[in-house]
Symmetry: C2
Subunit: 416 residues, 2 copies
């Protein structure tokens, strides 16, 4: 069986098994999630043993340290994954929610939330995504076909096997949960082209992965994650507040998508603000790359190029530009935004309003850190990704976003 | 300038002009729509003259009669288009609607509806779509790039010129409305690949057009329209009601997507039901193609092939199959459905429930005609198409479906 046929077979099994989810109650799906959480704790050692195999192979293959860290599972992290399953159990079930209206001709039209069907996930070397994504899909009544990174394959096989075993003790068929064992490019390319078998494909990972999926998929895709985020310090900002927020937005966790990559500072305030910012970020070893005016007050920093302004560093690097107006800041952001999160620091309500209406992105902030763009922080519970496209939804995607609608129309012989 | 550059230029103009829509009030957008409606009535004769040119060319090129009918505008039809503009004016404006929550840390998170941005429309030879689509996009704050069928190009150029002139008297830039003058395949292919310039592409037309768009587009697409719809007459049906509904669902307007293409009849009732149905549809000249059991009671009808069951005839042709159970009916529909509209006739509430939960489509009907799947009939007002995909939305798409969401987060220096 070639890779395409193998992946198609997994997708067909998932679709055939979906009926067991369709007829399951919220309580049954929650019980299944709790059974998975218990199994994770019970089989913690086994998973760690498989994970150590992946880590050893990654070490031999020269995988960089930060990636090995993301790949690593230990007892604490596995307990964390089990806890996040319990959080998903607590979330409200979107399935079956909806509206009803009776038309003048007596037709009763119900518009209700139903599962998307089968969700495809392509992601990199973070094995927690394997469990998180499966949990959110199961809770929302979706089958899921997972394709994780090759570095985590032994861990993922163990996790999926454990979850399927847990499901086999419930009314839900284990086949609603599939992992593509072929970690070659062929495996992901086959999944990208399962039109008619996969209802939506969600890539999670670096921009190379997301670009490849968007360019090559024939199934509907939700683009996620790429975050070239900006913070703009206006002349009307409370500079103390601005300093605290800008430092947090850049250095609290620079590798994630909601961290800031470029800071724009109004020309009325940069002479005092930039040196203070530089001082405040010394302890983090932040590298600043700046425009000419920034370099004049921060001696020794590198020049920021157009490429720097377009780059999602995901690291302790920040591009800085001094601008002469809110309009110039807006134009810069419009040019370089990836539509994720953008912030303004200002005490001027008119400027705040103009910034919010002019910038087209998932989340626009006034006087707060871009780091809040997150399903948990927004009160949605766990998220399956952050959509940076406009179709279907935008911003952190929770359970509701894993559903679609269905009209159920009841009549008594009405004709048109 | 080659076609790609030409289309890109139109898209860039649309995007640049979008700001004038973003700052417009509901009242301003409504005034613009009314100005277009007035211009349509005032310039009725001019439009008809241009339309006559298209009709003459179509006649010379041997375009079939039904297509020429769809292409034709007369005074009555133009008044109908103007009336539909007034209906769009009456619809509630979705922009700016949303929810707000205050998080424990004091962050105020607003989730509001915003326009998608620029909508691309590819459609065939119905010039009313030119005005309807423009109206729905303008009302919902979107720029729109239209690419109509080549048969209607003179009419479309006149309509778009008229609409742009009407806009020039308002605060909204005429550039938010663009028509691709190049009606070669290159024109539509360029539009399908305007990633970054077009936020969503909506094809409207026959399945060949929709398939071509889905296969070739790199921009996000909403698949619309293909309707291989079924009606199932269960043994528990009220046969009088069933006859009335089945006849309506097939013959009231067979060329539209919500008309039924296959009728399934339970083996307990087909011997009486099929002859009655046959009699009732004689006056319409309906051609019935059936399975062996259907042919035994309707002598002289052709045999229905698997291909017939898979075909959207859009004509006075119906495939008929006798089935032995609800399960068999569901299996048949699952095999051939295009996810549009499916109906069951039954007085058994348990069977109705099973049918509704088992069939995965935009609209599922109990004891009513599939012909009701329509924005107006569902109470959404005018529709821009009927989505048969699950992402973004499903079923008739109204104004709300031409929007996305944006989070606006207001803080007072919150950090994470």
């Amino acid at each position: 069986m070639d890779t395409y046929e193998y992946v198609k077979d997994l997708c067909e099994r998932a679709a055939a098994a979906r009926g067991t989810l369709a007829v399951s109650s919220t309580a049954e799906r929650n019980s299944a999630l709790l059974a998975i959480a218990e199994a994770l704790i019970r089989e913690c050692d086994k998973i760690i043993a498989k994970n150590e195999k992946d880590i050893a192979l990654a070490g031999e293959n020269g995988v960089p340290g930060p990636m090995i860290d993301r790949l690593t599972l230990n007892e604490k992290r596995i307990h964390g994954i089990a806890d996040s399953l319990k959080e998903v159990v607590m979330l409200s079930d979107p399935i079956g929610k909806g509206t009803v209206s009776v038309r003048p001709n007596g037709l009763k039209i119900m518009k209700v939330r139903v599962p998307l069907g089968t969700v495809g996930m392509i992601y990199e070397a973070r094995p927690n995504v394997t469990v998180d994504a499966a949990a959110l899909c199961l809770k929302s009544g979706n089958a899921v076909v997972l394709r994780g990174g090759k570095e985590a394959i032994n861990t993922n096989l163990a996790l999926v096997s454990l979850m399927r075993t847990a499901l086999s003790g419930t009314g839900i068929s284990p086949d609603v949960l599939q992992l593509i064992g072929d970690t070659s490019r062929k495996g992901s390319e086959a999944l990208m082209n399962m039109r008619g078998f996969i209802d939506v494909l969600i890539p999670r990972g670096g921009k190379g992965l997301i670009r490849a999926v968007v360019d090559n998929a024939s199934v509907p895709v939700i683009e996620t994650g790429a975050g070239n985020c900006h913070i703009y310090i206006d002349s009307s900002a409370d500079l103390e507040k601005a300093l605290k927020v800008a430092v947090n937005a850049k250095v609290s966790r620079p590798a994630v998508c909601n961290a800031v990559e470029t800071m724009l500072v109004h020309s009325d305030v940069y002479k005092s603000f930039l040196p203070a910012f530089y001082q405040a970020t010394r302890e983090y070893g932040l590298e600043i790359r700046g425009c000419d005016r920034a370099r004049a007050v921060l001696s020794g920093i590198k020049e920021a190029t157009d490429e720097d302004y377009a780059t999602e560093f995901d690291d302790y690097i920040l591009a800085v530009k001094v601008v002469d107006s809110l309009d110039e800041a807006i134009e810069h952001i419009k040019k370089y935004t990836t539509g994720h999160s953008e912030a303004i620091m200002t005490e001027d309500i008119g400027k705040a309003h103009k910034f919010c209406s002019s910038i087209d992105c998932a989340a626009v902030y006034v006087n707060a850190s871009t780091r809040f763009t997150d399903g948990g922080e927004f009160g949605l519970g766990a998220e399956i990704g952050i959509s940076t496209q406009k179709l279907h939804t935008r911003g952190p995607m929770g359970l509701d976003d894993l559903t679609t609608v269905k009209y159920i129309v009841e009549g008594d012989g009405q004709i048109r």
